[in-house]
Structure formats: C-alpha cells, structure tokens
Symmetry: C2
Subunit: 77 residues, 2 copies
C-alpha cells in the first residue's frame, strides 16, 4: 500500500468524520458501495479518478484536496 | 466515458505535448506502459489515483491539476 493510497483514505475518513457522517452516509451521497468506502478509508482499495471525484463531490471539496498533503481537519465549530 | 475521464486524458496529452514528449517518453518517466498512456489520453482507460500521481510527478504538476478544470497549456516560450 503506497503512502498516497493510505493518505487518500485517511483524508476521506477525516473529512467524513468532520461532517459526522457514517460510512453508509458517505457511500450513499457518493453513489458508492459502503464496504468499498471502508476499504478506501483503510487504504486497502485503490480508488480510480472517477471514484475520487465522486467522493470529493459528496464531501464538497476539490478532488485535489483528497490527493494532496495529508489533511488536518478541524471539526466544525 | 465520463467527462472527467475524457478531460483527464486531454490534460495529460496537452501537458505532454507542451513538453514535446512522445507517449513513450511520458510512459518511461511515469513508469507506465506506453499503450496504457495512449488509452488514458484517449479516455478509454480510467486511471487509478496511483497512476494519476505517477503521471503528475512525471509531468511535474500537482495531481490536482490533472483532475480539475480542462487545462489550456501554453507551449513553452
């Protein structure tokens, strides 16, 4: 598992948790399978650019945000 | 083929051509198969985030650049 894949998953998880969403909710909003979202977050599945785009749209962030440096996410105030 | 996949391919091609590289050269620098680079540029293959990262590193651009709005690339002066 590359650092990129691990960081991508960690970023998706951090953004999801900052929104207080479950994996089920993120999967539904992104039009993905719930277990696949779990695999992506754990870094055990490598997302395609289409999946990355779906996740970014659901999380309302530019897709580049999911692929760049590890993200420190402040929980909403 | 989604617009994202088509635009990703077009952006990779535009950046490669702006560097006057052949597909062989880009494939070599990115550690990818030449025919796969061709499929990606034509939008007939969907890159993973790992492939997108390899291409971005080879082209020396942030990976987000390959995934965001269609890119108009000025040939080097």
């Amino acid at each position: 598992m590359t650092a990129l894949v691990r960081e991508f998953g960690a970023t998706v998880r951090a953004l999801r948790e900052a929104l207080s969403w479950s994996q089920e909710q993120l999967a539904e909003y992104a039009g993905l399978n719930r277990s696949y979202v779990g695999e992506i977050e754990r870094g055990s599945a490598i997302a395609s650019i289409v999946t990355a785009d779906k996740l970014a749209r659901a999380l309302n962030v530019p897709v580049g945000t999911l692929l760049c440096a590890p993200l420190t996410v402040d929980a909403p105030a």
